[in-house]
């Protein structure tokens, strides 16, 4: 499991993350929510080892995170791919570099799970829809069977209907593949609907970690109530009569 233990990260002179601790068990989903500038992207960079924490440690099953081959799904589906090459190239680039073998059966299963035609991989990023591009991004992340997948705003470039559909596919695949998912999002509706736990990040600090149920119905801190009410005002969550 992923263990983030009293982690502080500095960016220049300012502190981007301050004493952040949480854990994420294999096969579970943690949503990290917060406003822009709260430190969500810094957290992802730190877990991937791109930023070194000034204090604290980040481990997967007691070992460095990179040993569990974490994968990342990015926000902008089209710009996450090399525009001049077929999608297939980007999907298999990392697998080839690590000399891993991916069986045809696995590729077929993942494509089916993501509702992607295999021929689609021969097209370039500009020739597929944004929703398709994002599903190819998820395919690329899952191809090498990672234990941990980080999602950085995976749905925010998609329209409302595509968002819900893509979220459903991610959840189904997670059940089959058993990876742990850390989802960074500012969409509270998504977090409440799909996560096992929600961590609220505010100015680099964890404000609250709670279950979606608690969060939606009875948020503990005033800030979490503001977030919840904003989600309701934007129609992402619907208060039942």
């Amino acid at each position: 499991m992923l263990k983030v233990d009293h982690v502080s990260v500095k960016r220049g002179a300012s502190v981007a993350l301050k004493d952040v601790s949480f854990s994420l068990a294999a096969g579970k989903t943690l949503a990290v929510v917060g406003e822009s500038g709260a430190g969500k992207s810094t957290l992802i960079s730190a877990i991937l080892g791109l930023l070194k924490p000034a204090q604290g440690s980040i481990t997967w099953a007691g070992a460095p995170v990179r040993l569990c081959r974490p994968a990342l799904v990015m926000q902008e589906p089209r710009s996450a791919f090399n525009p001049t090459l077929p999608l297939r190239h980007s999907v298999f680039e990392a697998v080839k570099a690590r000399k891993l073998h991916v069986g045809d059966a696995r590729l077929d299963r993942l494509c089916k799970g993501l509702e992607l035609e295999r021929d689609l991989l021969d097209r370039r990023p500009a020739a597929v829809s944004i929703g398709q591009a994002q599903r190819v991004g998820i395919l690329r992340a899952l191809i090498a069977a990672p234990s941990l997948v980080l999602f950085d705003e995976p749905l925010s470039a998609l329209d409302a209907v595509t968002q819900k559909h893509t979220a459903k596919l991610i959840a189904q695949l997670q059940k089959e593949e058993g990876f742990a998912a850390l989802i960074v999002t500012h969409d509270l509706g998504y977090a409440v609907a799909h996560a096992d736990e929600i961590a609220v990040l505010k100015s680099g600090q964890i404000e609250e970690v709670s279950t979606p149920q608690d969060f939606a119905v009875a948020p503990k801190s005033a800030y979490c109530r503001v977030l919840r009410d904003a989600a309701i005002a934007l129609g992402a969550l619907e208060p039942a009569e």
Binding site: I130, D159, G189, A216, A230, L234, G235, A236, E238, P239
Partner: protein
């Protein structure tokens, strides 16, 4: 006065992205123009604004993100003055104080350029510019999707508040039926470059007829909360 535009259509590279469409808007209307991405809703919004402006109506337009409304090389004061000039107003003729306080634009230095302001403030400034000429209609294209939820919710609330007392009609373009449901009373649902359903918001939410409306209605939010 009712605004109407007829036979709006757009063809790009030999392909129709907007089939001939007519739109009528009465004062105080709150209309949602909804549909999936690529359904032609933004195209219709642009065509409608351009057509009504050609007819001589005062129509304002607010794009999705402030990056699409403000030139990073010029100060906020310059943008404000430019918008005044475009409306034929004398300098300072628009009631900036009232608009700014209604939209809670506080503490931003007008001499600074847009990127020195927060995005939420930039977007509210753009909305203030849109409202300064007391337009007959304001068309907002996904006005909050580039903003944080907290800021987005506050912006929509302030916008509602600003429009409550005025005769200005509003068209809200969005892919999010959940958002539209809270801010408009009528819906136009678009699919494949056509308006496929036009009815009151309640009707579309409860008894959607077109397939596109059914999909939007079924996916309008993530969860209904027991609270």
């Amino acid at each position: 006065m009712t605004l109407s535009a007829h036979g709006l259509s757009v063809v790009r590279a030999g392909q129709a992205i907007l089939y001939p469409t007519s739109v009528c808007v009465s004062p105080r209307d709150r209309i949602g123009l909804v549909g999936a991405s690529g359904s032609g809703k933004s195209t219709l919004g642009h065509a409608l604004v351009d057509d009504l402006r050609m007819q001589g109506h005062v129509v304002a337009y607010v794009p999705q993100s402030p990056d699409e409304a403000l030139d990073p090389l010029w100060s906020m004061a310059f943008h404000w003055r430019e918008a005044e000039k475009a409306l034929g107003l004398r300098p300072g003729a628009a009631d900036r104080k009232t608009l700014f306080s209604a939209l809670k634009i506080e503490g931003g230095d007008l001499r600074k350029r847009p990127w020195a302001w927060s995005r939420g403030m930039q977007q509210r400034f753009v909305i203030a510019m849109a409202l300064m000429g007391r337009p007959n209609l304001v068309v907002l294209d996904e006005p909050t999707s580039a903003l944080d939820p907290v800021v987005a919710a506050a912006t929509m609330q302030l916008l509602d508040h600003c429009l409550r007392e005025s005769d200005t009609a509003m068209i809200l373009i969005t892919h999010d039926l959940g958002l539209a449901a809270r801010h408009v009373s009528q819906l136009m649902v678009m699919d494949g470059g056509r308006i496929v359903e036009q009815a009151s918001t309640e009707d579309v939410l409860e008894h959607p007829k077109a397939p596109a409306s059914k999909a939007l209605s079924a996916h309008r939010n993530w969860l209904a909360l027991p609270c």
